[in-house]
Symmetry: C2
Subunit: 196 residues, 2 copies
Amino acid sequence: MNAAVCFSGGKDSSLAALLLEPFYEVTLVCATAGVADSAAHAREAAETIDFPFERVELEESVVREAAERIVADGFPRNGIQAIHEHALEEVAQLEYDAVADGTRRDDRVPTIPRSFAQSLEDRHGIDYLSPLTGFGRGAVDRLVETRLDVEAGPSEQVPKGDYETEIRAVIAEEHGQEAVSECFPEHTQTRVRGRR
Amino acid sequence: MNAAVCFSGGKDSSLAALLLEPFYEVTLVCATAGVADSAAHAREAAETIDFPFERVELEESVVREAAERIVADGFPRNGIQAIHEHALEEVAQLEYDAVADGTRRDDRVPTIPRSFAQSLEDRHGIDYLSPLTGFGRGAVDRLVETRLDVEAGPSEQVPKGDYETEIRAVIAEEHGQEAVSECFPEHTQTRVRGRR
């Protein structure tokens, strides 16, 4: 069986891939609209942990709509959730037996309710897997610590292949850099640099 | 890091152990009040998949209260949920870094809400892991099929180390065999016979 893991280059999607590796042929898939080089960053990160990599095109309008939503809301939750659901739909259409992501038990966003998971499975004839929802924050951190070499820093300094990178670029372009800081609280990003 | 997987001898707790095996030193732990030889069945099943085994004593009163609850309700959900929560509390007091179980994403019982999981972790200083909550019914069945040799049959004929075996014995003793059939819908049980 093969599985596509939605991959941003960060620690969560990397750890999800490691958890599935003994059971599936794993490919890391970066869903991107091609804004801000995010696919290149994700591909580079994928190479450091030695998985095959695929890039999937998202409509740029989806990223732009998510960006506008975030500016209107003043916080990123709804926009990120919308783009993640859209990405899952796109990846579910590829030729994989399973589609996985790095959502965690204690995540605030994105969250995939069971109803969405089952609907995705039924409509696309695939399995949806979220291996990290079985693990709490502490357990995830400890697994990352023992298995992955990770670089951490503020979002502006850790280039990643995630939606946030693209959305930040769109907001900066449309509304200026200040709007980015207003919508996104400062937080530490991670990017994988290899296995331990 | 070591992990205690609450083990009944069935396919779910066995698969949970396989998922954790690359990341933890796994011990299969059967929590039992010693009714109906269930620990012996669980130990035998644990040997077939080659994990260390430990038995943890539950208060017999807990099993008896669950049995009475089930007879009063006419269905097993609440009694099984109560005994599983009690078992998790007992196993969390042992000397393991993590306590795991085989609850699945699509299970109706037992279900462990995030609030219970976090409370268990905070009070006992352990991680609670439920690796199968990241997998739907289809994915779990396919993983079991490829990784485990499993015997299936009606509950009366597949002796296991689960709570249901003990509760059935108590209800039969207190209320007669007919009460057992009234409370428990007929369903197929599984017991692991080895790895594939």
